[in-house]
Amino acid sequence: MKRFLILSCVFFVSGMFSLPTVAADDEIQSLRGAAGIEDESAAPVIKHWAPDQEPIERDYVQQPPLVPHSVEGYKINRKSNKCLTCHSWTRYKEAGATKISQTHFADRDENVLANIAPRRYFCDQCHVPQRDAKPRVKNTFEPVPAIHQP
């Protein structure tokens, strides 16, 4: 019991000294930045859709291809899928679009279905459109030479 008391005292005292140091640390910020509670924080700049472009090269083998065009107002729901009006097997030639991969017709038990599998139906779960945003965290990732010639 005595040891426990001494230990908790030590923790308490060390905590008292360390607290001001943490609070003064400028490295730690809340999500709204360094603005004071009374101040208005600056609104983030609105990122616009990247202009239409040629298909974007993959950065790694398993990467779902990125969407190289705006998808503003495109709806995907139980009743219709706007993406498929160009990317389906019956439409891709006329639309000059990439057709959806054959793998998208298989369910998780690898049964090939007559139409796109429900688990692959919601395109934008994996295929994401691009905006003019820069990466928030710098990284040094390089694609392997087999899929990307520098």
Binding site: P51, D52, H69, S70, G73, K75, R78, K79, S80, N81, L84, T85, S88, W89, T90, R91, A95, G96, N115, I116, P118, Y121
Partner: protein, 212 residues
């Protein structure tokens, strides 16, 4: 000739009856009075008719029925024709009522059918509306195919399109579409309202529900 003339005179001079109301000349009012009165009454009737028709050509009138307000109007508020970069808005009648007078009157006469269905409550719940959505959408699509998307072209004239300002995909499809004689609605379905279940239209663009 003379016989015929006498006969006409006889029928016109016969007093009383509805024929007399139309055929017998007025003995009391001068021609000027009759003309002025006719013009005034004519202006009032004609102006009143057009005023009432224009009143039925407003968004406020359209969404005074809950069938329109809770279904199609709410969906439309999510689309580019409601809010966009330049602030030009197309309201219900801009797309659904022809601008030319005779087409407009024909549309208004057909709208009496809509009044009938309003009375018997054909689509008075969202569920009923959803069940009929494909049928209703097809009516509008067929009309727009027949009129070569006339109401779209009130604003969107392809001769005014600046292809330099359109995206690559839009340029390709527009040029190909116009060459093939396609009309706006052939591609631009569901741009202002939610699409119906499209499985019957094109099974390749939706999984489809299991038949019950």
């Amino acid at each position: 000739m003379n016989d015929k003339h006498r006969k006409d005179e006889g029928s016109a001079s016969r007093p009383g009856g509805w024929r007399a109301f139309f055929l017998r000349p007025s003995a009391r009012y001068s021609v000027a009075t009759l003309v002025v009165a006719g013009v005034v009454v004519g202006v009032l009737f004609w102006g009143g008719f057009n005023w009432a028709m224009e009143l039925s050509n407003t968004e406020t009138f359209c969404i005074s029925c809950h069938e329109m307000k809770v279904n199609v109007y709410e969906e439309y508020k999510d689309t580019l024709h409601y809010t966009n970069r330049t602030g030009v808005r197309a309201t219900c009648p801009d797309c659904h009522v022809p601008k030319a007078w005779h087409h407009k009157v024909v549309r208004k006469i057909f709208a009496t059918n809509e009044l009938f269905h309003k009375m018997i409550g054909t689509i008075d719940t969202p569920e009923k509306f959803e069940a009929k959505r494909l049928e209703l959408a097809r009516v509008v699509w067929r009309t727009m195919e027949r009129t070569d998307s006339r109401e779209c072209r009130n604003c969107h004239d392809y001769e005014s399109m600046d292809y330099m300002d359109q995206s690559r995909r839009a340029v390709d499809r527009h040029i190909a579409g116009f060459d093939e004689g396609e009309t706006c609605i052939d591609c631009h379905k569901g741009i202002a309202h939610s699409l119906p279940d499209m499985h019957d239209e094109d099974p390749s663009i939706v999984i489809g529900t299991v038949a019950e």
